[in-house]
């Protein structure tokens, strides 16, 4: 397998904010790759650098071996980007939008593929509707269509399902999965961690412009194998406080390694006379991994 996307020591600063700091990663052809991180972690900046919308201060980025600055034509031809913002040109219909986008890539006679895109994105009935008249979900589908008009090898989706209803989300993922099976490399950023868990093979986590984790989904899950105890209590015993992963309005999430660890936790609560309001056990999912890495309380030594 050859490398679809390569990022080498990329840095980018906006004023006093170091949006990206020495980021390196490589995505192989055919991968379904997840790019996760909280808001402001640098995901969109990284995507913008790949797409040539922003220039890096340091480092190199390549799409299928083509440098995004020095051979931008080849690099951009190989890349399709679904932007995060719900943007559209109000002057045109859906079909015109897709035809014009094809033309920008030098494709004049792209009707067959445009029809196929319209069909897969369930936009056939809206083909001649003005972009202005579409709902948010419909506009999102057109954005996906625009990213695909030139059949790019690498498709980047920046939060594609933000604000999209469940039904559309499902049909969108069916389509993206099909594209991945057909050989397209997919890079996805998302806030919905279950989405990344269901779809991505490998995942990079960004935090404050740095890669804090980069591994296969299985390795990430097993690295943080363990359980989370969801506790509704007044407070957590002092000795257990370092194990608190997260806390929100009287709910504490405490990490334990195995079921047997539950006993000492309950004993400690009893000793200190803390009443348990609720207790639930959760298996590790990507969200737990994410929170541990981002929280940096227990995850950082492993990252």
């Amino acid at each position: 397998m050859s490398i679809a996307v390569e990022v080498v020591n990329v840095g980018r600063r906006f004023g006093r904010v170091q949006a990206l700091d020495d980021v390196s990663l490589a995505v192989e052809e055919g991968e379904f790759f997840g790019l996760l991180g909280p808001n402001g972690a640098g995901k969109t900046t990284l995507i913008s650098i790949l797409a040539g919308l922003t220039r890096a201060d340091a480092g190199k980025a390549r799409i299928l071996g083509h440098d995004v600055v020095t051979s931008y034509r080849a690099a951009r031809r190989a890349l399709g980007v679904v932007p995060q913002e719900l943007v559209f040109d109000p002057f045109f219909t859906v079909r015109e939008t897709l035809e014009i986008q094809s033309g920008y890539y030098g494709l004049r006679d792209n009707r067959a593929w445009i029809d196929e895109i319209l069909h897969h994105l369930d936009l056939v009935s809206k083909a001649d509707a003005n972009m202005r008249s579409l709902s948010g979900g419909m506009k999102r589908r057109v954005l996906v269509g625009q990213a695909l008009v030139h059949k790019p090898s690498v498709i980047v989706l920046d939060e594609p399902t933000a604000g999209v209803d469940v039904v559309l989300r499902q049909s969108l993922w069916t389509f993206i999965r099909k594209l991945n099976r057909d050989g397209h490399t997919i890079i996805l950023t998302t806030h919905y961690l279950e989405e990344a868990e269901a779809l991505c093979g490998r995942i990079a986590m960004l935090k404050a412009g740095k890669v804090v984790a980069l591994d296969t989904k299985q390795n990430l899950l097993s690295r943080f194998a363990g359980l989370t105890v969801r506790l509704v209590v007044e407070r957590v015993p002092v000795a257990w406080q370092p194990r608190v992963l997260r806390q929100e309005a009287g709910i504490f999430f405490v990490g334990i390694d195995r079921y047997a660890d539950l006993e000492p936790l309950l004993a400690a609560l009893r000793t200190e006379g803390i009443a348990i309001g609720e207790l639930a056990l959760q298996e590790t999912d990507l969200e737990q991994v994410f929170l541990r890495i981002m929280g940096g309380q227990r995850g950082e030594e492993g990252a």
């Binding site: 220039r55 951009r76 031809r77 932007p83 943007v87 559209f88 040109d89 920008y104």
Partner: protein, 258 residues
């Protein structure tokens, strides 16, 4: 499917489609404005102003000025409003993502501005011709066309620069109201600069718009305030320099690929 073809013809087509779809505002409105200028100014001034030593009536003199003014203003309006709207709506990304070079972007945007300028110019000429049919017997149409093309390219480039620079629509209006409008109005659209006091005559010679209007008018009358070759050299020089500046800005990615 042929990937080797360039993207800019489509961008040019999109630019044309954009103003064509709102032609009431982009073509008919400026034609009506020019017509109103003509009705008012020619009515008020016809008897009082003599131009080119009385060889030309004021109305006939005014018409080429209005045509060129419309060409210039609309060329500027086309690039500046198109790019500014794309920036504000965020849909500029659709133009920045494809593999189009700075030269392609320049050619498409400025080409679109030139077409809009010429279409409006022809429209203004067509409706004002009624008031001075003799203008159809232009002695040098080639000169008029050359100045119209160069002038619209200059203003199209200026519009592009203004929209790249501006962060709000306000700033585009400022560019228009404080630079483009004064330079057009003080360029001799409404008068021959020979009717001005010496100080203002000298000042007018520093205004590149004056040469565009004067050279354009030469095409209609074979008469001008300065020799048309001088005007052509100055206007072509301006167009060349401004094109290079615009290309350099696009190449640098300033404010577009920041």
């Amino acid at each position: 499917m042929n990937l080797s073809r360039a993207g800019w013809p489509t961008l040019l087509y999109k630019e044309l489609l954009r103003f064509w779809k709102v032609s009431l505002q982009t073509i008919l409105a400026p034609v009506l404005t020019a017509l109103l200028y003509l009705l008012i100014f020619s009515h008020v001034l016809e008897a009082n102003i003599s131009v080119f030593g009385g060889k030309v009536t004021y109305t006939a003199f005014l018409i080429p000025g209005l045509v060129m003014m419309s060409v210039l203003q609309n060329s500027f309006a086309n690039t500046s409003s198109s790019l500014m709207q794309s920036k504000m709506n965020g849909n500029l990304i659709f133009i920045l993502l494809p593999p189009m070079s700075p030269l392609e972007l320049f050619a498409a945007y400025v080409g679109g501005a030139m077409v809009r300028g010429l279409v409006v110019g022809i429209g203004v000429f067509a409706v004002t011709l009624f008031f001075a049919p003799s203008l159809l017997r232009m002695p040098h149409p080639g000169w008029a066309l050359a100045f119209a093309l160069l002038g619209s390219a200059i203003l199209g480039s200026l519009g592009l620069i203004a929209a790249i620079w501006a962060e709000k629509f306000d700033q585009i209006s400022a560019f228009q109201n404080f630079l483009i409008m004064p330079l057009t109005f003080l360029s001799g659209v409404f008068y021959s600069i020979h009717s001005l006091p010496p100080f203002w005559q000298t000042l007018s010679h520093a205004n590149p718009f004056f040469y565009m209007i004067d050279g354009f008018r030469y095409g209609f009358f074979g008469l001008s305030d300065v020799p048309p070759t001088t005007s052509l050299a100055i206007v072509a020089g301006c167009a060349f320099v401004l094109s290079l500046v615009t290309l350099a800005i696009l190449e640098s990615g300033w404010k577009l690929r920041h």
